[in-house]
């Protein structure tokens, strides 16, 4: 697997090719895409709007944020429900404990900060006070992955899905665009139990329907295919949609499955698809270690050990750059999904 990665992080200077991103983008737009978009927006705005809606539907929904209200798009909720919103200051450990306490008192707390500070920094607090104690806390994590861009590796957490999915009782959700994030946010308010909701900063195509119903734990087959299955999560679902069209131009019919819920994983949908296609690719904005690909591999190896190729970050930290540059450099875009699909096909 390691040999597939052209850009080991310690050699990055050698590989500093200037990538003509506008050409790549135009190429995508001329493709015969099964899903298209007219507008782009950040998934965090989907969270913010969903949060407001959840707050309107249920007076028990409350919010907490550690000095990142603007970044998390929690401001509209705060404005409408000031008495139900708690600025905690830059004190994430306390925020998680507060949320656990509010949950046991019957509230539905949404605790928001950057994904790095919402997981790694407070892992033990989440483990003991939320997951082990089975508290109805929604951990809302923005700026996940490489695509937060210029802030660089200190903020680009690529291990959060792994950390969160390892915790018993934890539901882990990583929606793909504004609409899906909004729907997911509304759905988790109605679900009883701890949830990790991951979203991001970049402006991203809105290609899934407005007012969709979000079913936790239910994979969504977006495109039917027969040759290879692409399992994608988060921002990379869009890249998978683009990759599908690129593959189709070459006569390869890929099935695209949107795995918005990483835990509990819809193993039935995964196995059913791979039974048909015989090989698969996983695509995520996360480390290969502990990510979605790992979960899919576990499923396949037990029930149907078909070839699986991974698209993800291979044991490295990120760096500063624009989202598109970073996805390109770290091998996470549609072109890389296409390559991975071909590798998987060749191993069938």
């Amino acid at each position: 697997m390691t040999s597939n990665w052209p850009l080991p992080w310690n050699n990055w200077k050698k590989h500093l090719a200037i990538i003509d991103l506008s050409i790549a983008k135009d190429k995508k737009m001329s493709l015969d895409l099964k899903y298209t978009y007219t507008e782009k927006k950040d998934t965090r705005s989907g969270f913010g709007d969903g949060f407001l809606e959840a707050g309107r539907r249920n007076p028990n929904v409350v919010g907490l944020c550690a000095d990142l209200i603007g970044s998390l798009k929690m401001g509209d909720f705060q404005k409408e429900f000031p008495e139900r919103f708690f600025q905690t200051g830059i004190a994430e450990a306390n925020m998680i404990g507060l949320a656990a306490g509010m949950a046991l008192g019957g509230k539905i707390p949404f605790a928001g900060t950057f994904a790095n500070f919402a997981t790694g920094r407070v892992y033990d607090q989440i483990r003991q006070s939320v997951a082990y104690s089975d508290k109805n806390v929604k951990i809302c994590a923005s700026h996940a992955g490489l695509t937060l861009g210029e802030d660089g590796a200190t903020h680009q957490i690529l291990e959060d899905l792994g950390m969160m999915k390892m915790l018993p009782h934890m539901t882990v959700i990583n929606p793909c665009d504004y609409n899906q994030t909004k729907a997911a946010t509304i759905a988790i308010a109605e679900y009883e139990g701890p949830v990790y909701l991951r979203f991001g900063r970049p402006s991203w195509p809105i290609f899934t329907p407005t007012n969709q119903k979000f079913e936790i734990g239910k994979a969504w087959k977006m495109i039917d295919g027969k040759d290879v299955t692409i399992f994608a999560t988060g921002h990379l679902v869009w890249e998978a949609v683009v990759a599908e069209a690129m593959l189709r131009e070459e006569g390869i019919h890929a099935e695209v499955i949107n795995i918005h819920t990483i835990k509990p994983l819809d193993t039935e949908a995964i196995l059913e698809s791979v039974k048909k296609t015989g090989c698969a690719v996983s695509a995520e904005e996360h480390q290969l270690n502990g990510g979605l690909g790992d979960s899919i591999a576990q499923t396949l190896i037990r029930h149907n050990p078909a070839p699986l190729e991974y698209v993800g970050v291979n044991d490295s930290f990120g760096e500063s750059g624009t989202p598109t540059q970073l996805l390109e450099k770290y091998g996470l875009n549609a072109e890389n999904i296409v390559k991975a699909a071909k590798r998987a096909l060749a191993r069938k």
Partner: protein
């Protein structure tokens, strides 16, 4: 619950100490020192101060709640919970054993009545207590939230994050008690990491601080908690510095960190139990 007289409450303290020692002895593990020192606090709280409902409800609406942040005092907490009717006293014999509801450190997972959050990893309980107190304020629920922390535990940064929050939001329905026994695992707190002037620290963080200098004198502990209660509802969170002695009640255990986490052997147990009257019947 009908209030009991001081001598009656004293008897419960003695029985609690016996329970703790027999529990940790039976499994040759656990923490006897701090719960021995907090026996008066536990009994004063559960048998005199708390307005609570032994028909356990997780959300605790309309009743006073207690959180044990220093979860290693579990043996003491389990004893007072059982003795005040949360679960059968006989269940104390399952402490720390396989398939027990009485986990080494308190947990909600096994649904033991009286426990609302897991603790054991130190430094988290104050945040949880304040969160619950915040939920009570949202619900216009006038009851109080109590929490106990160790003094060594105060070395955790999260405690001070929580302290800041509570003052900022005027969490005047919170009464936090510090088991000020001056000991922690590796030695006296003064040597390990000096807490210096704790009263001044908490005051500087915006808390109303009271000192209960005789933390192993039941009447003084009750008076301290009464005072604390009288200070609630005035815009500030309340901190009760409870001066206790680790290992109190057993002459060879008192005042040293050596009994923080070591169980007595058979002989030591016998010697210790001779000093503590069996008042309510051993489990």
């Amino acid at each position: 619950m009908k209030k009991q007289s001081l001598p009656e409450l004293q008897k419960i303290c003695s029985q609690l100490r016996r329970d703790v020692l027999r529990m940790v002895h039976a499994v040759q593990s656990g923490h006897p020192g701090a719960p021995l020192g907090c026996a008066e606090f536990f009994v004063a709280l559960y048998f005199d101060q708390l307005h609570h409902n032994p028909n356990f409800q997780m959300n605790g609406k309309g009743e006073d709640l207690f959180f044990l942040s220093n979860g290693h005092l579990s043996a003491g907490w389990y004893s007072v919970l059982a003795r005040s009717g949360y679960f059968p006293v006989a269940e104390l014999k399952t402490f720390r054993k396989l398939n027990s509801r009485l986990q080494g450190h308190p947990a909600t997972h096994e649904h033991l009545p009286g426990i609302r959050i897991a603790s054991g990893s130190l430094g988290q309980g104050l945040s949880v207590a304040i969160g619950t107190a915040q939920a009570k304020k949202l619900d216009q629920d006038k009851s109080l939230v109590y929490v106990l922390m160790g003094d060594g535990e105060l070395q955790e940064g999260q405690v001070w994050e929580a302290a800041m929050y509570a003052a900022h939001y005027g969490m005047d329905n919170v009464i936090a008690t510090v088991d000020y026994n001056g000991q922690q695992i590796d030695g006296p707190t003064e040597k390990i990491m000096d807490l210096m002037n704790l009263k001044a620290k908490w005051e500087a963080f915006g808390w109303e601080v009271i000192e209960t200098k005789e933390g192993n004198d039941l009447a003084a502990v009750i008076a301290g908690l009464e005072k604390a209660k009288s200070l609630t509802g005035k815009g500030k969170p309340i901190l009760n510095l409870l001066y206790t002695e680790m290992g109190y009640g057993v002459d060879f255990m008192v005042g040293t960190h050596k009994w923080h986490g070591s169980p007595p052997n058979d002989e030591q147990l016998a010697l210790a139990l001779e000093q503590l009257e069996e008042t309510l019947g051993d489990y």
